[in-house]
Symmetry: C2
Subunit: 300 residues, 2 copies
Amino acid sequence: MRTMGDAETPPLLVEETIAIIGVGLIGGSVAAALKKRGFAGRILGVGRNASRLESAKAAGLIDACSTNLAESAAQSDLIILCTPVNLIIEGVRDISATCRPGTLITDAGSTKGDICRELSSRFAKGVTFIGSHPLAGSEKQGFEEANPDLFQNRVCVVTPNETTPADQLSRLNAFWELLGCRVIEMTAEAHDQAIARTSHLPHVVASALVSLLEKSHNQLTSTGFCDTTRIAAGDPDLWSAILLANASEVIQSIDELNGKLAEFSEAIANRDATTLKNLLQLAKTNRDNLGVKSCDRPAS
Amino acid sequence: MRTMGDAETPPLLVEETIAIIGVGLIGGSVAAALKKRGFAGRILGVGRNASRLESAKAAGLIDACSTNLAESAAQSDLIILCTPVNLIIEGVRDISATCRPGTLITDAGSTKGDICRELSSRFAKGVTFIGSHPLAGSEKQGFEEANPDLFQNRVCVVTPNETTPADQLSRLNAFWELLGCRVIEMTAEAHDQAIARTSHLPHVVASALVSLLEKSHNQLTSTGFCDTTRIAAGDPDLWSAILLANASEVIQSIDELNGKLAEFSEAIANRDATTLKNLLQLAKTNRDNLGVKSCDRPAS
């Protein structure tokens, strides 16, 4: 794997231009992390709202900005789409004709199956798309919430396939490592199956739980309820798109959860303390195994 | 409501002896908070394990300790049971004969219905039991984790009934206020109905969610999963007792959650983005309404 300090291969810092399409929390944090970690090239912010982009530029996050995707792509060496998942395929369509040979395109979407099936073989020879999903985020929105340490010590899943050029995969890995990530390679399908259980189902569950809350009970919530439901404050548009893009795995995981909840209900109804303790002990063991480190938050 | 600075009524600090039965995380934090906030009387730690109690005494949390409940009760002005909920009624039985007139007994259990039905009219004239539930806790255990600020700015629900003497209720409120709590009075039944939704169901859900986690997916969890499942690390014995003590409300709340999850599933299966966004928006609105303040953690 190519790393920053490897004299045999050109370091990532020689990238002349990295285009970030969608300068929100994630895109803004990519920019902030690149700046903080000494990226010496140019960061081009691309989006639909010129005044927001100008604000991000004024804030020093990006060096230049544009609302013209095709034109931006033509001047970029590496392009990362940080748009909502339902706009990634469309965004790549807008740049697919103008990329130069050698350009590497990736994304930061929470689902990978549809995107990779559609995009991994979309491009002309010499242009490569590889899916990425950095496991970092926040219920907050907007580049104003960008955090240069958002990716620090986080996992980033990359989803190459059998046609992915090895040198471009190394380049992508080096990019995420520069941002502070630990890179894991998986297939897009394995990613979606796992992330349904570790991210999408938790979002549905947190949302369902807080939906049941009567306003008069707000004052009776404590840190447990707050933590369990925190992610439900996420953007409904973004999350609707994510859940629909991973529909079958999410539905199946809801079914699995229902089965587990039924075990709890039955044990409680039967006053079966032994079974109930066993259910709670399995949960505790799994939770304890996660450790503390993976749950540390970045400084914000 | 009587407060510390009210010259008309004797301040709580004249309490000669407060007995804490069960010196774990909660009992230890009660002791630590009393010490930090200038309680001038004696703190008597009571429990079954003499060497653990001696350790708590050596750590400066309690002034004296005893494994004899009846004897401890006889020398105490205020007694708080901080044992697991399934041991509270039994614990009070052990002290009921020896309390002096004027003694106020309370608890810190997460369920109130069974306990208050059993205990509120148990005592001889002049001895009062009133249920309490401070909405503060941690997945950690043991007096070593005691935190003098655990109750700071937390709600404490107290559950008097129509026979509760007003002066003893004022005294109980002053006790919790001394520890930093905001006191809310409710019936035991209303408490259990609400806390099923704000605490017990979230514990079941967090446990079910993390039970589904395959070990190979541990590295694919992020802060969202960690927060959503944090409370599942709680003690299985304690939580089994809590869920069984509030069985009917917990079972009913699981049913309510299943209904809400089915709405999510159906919207996703139908690719109905509008309904899905509405479901997510209701959740976001409820979560945003909780505010940040109620979710702040005590410094630990």
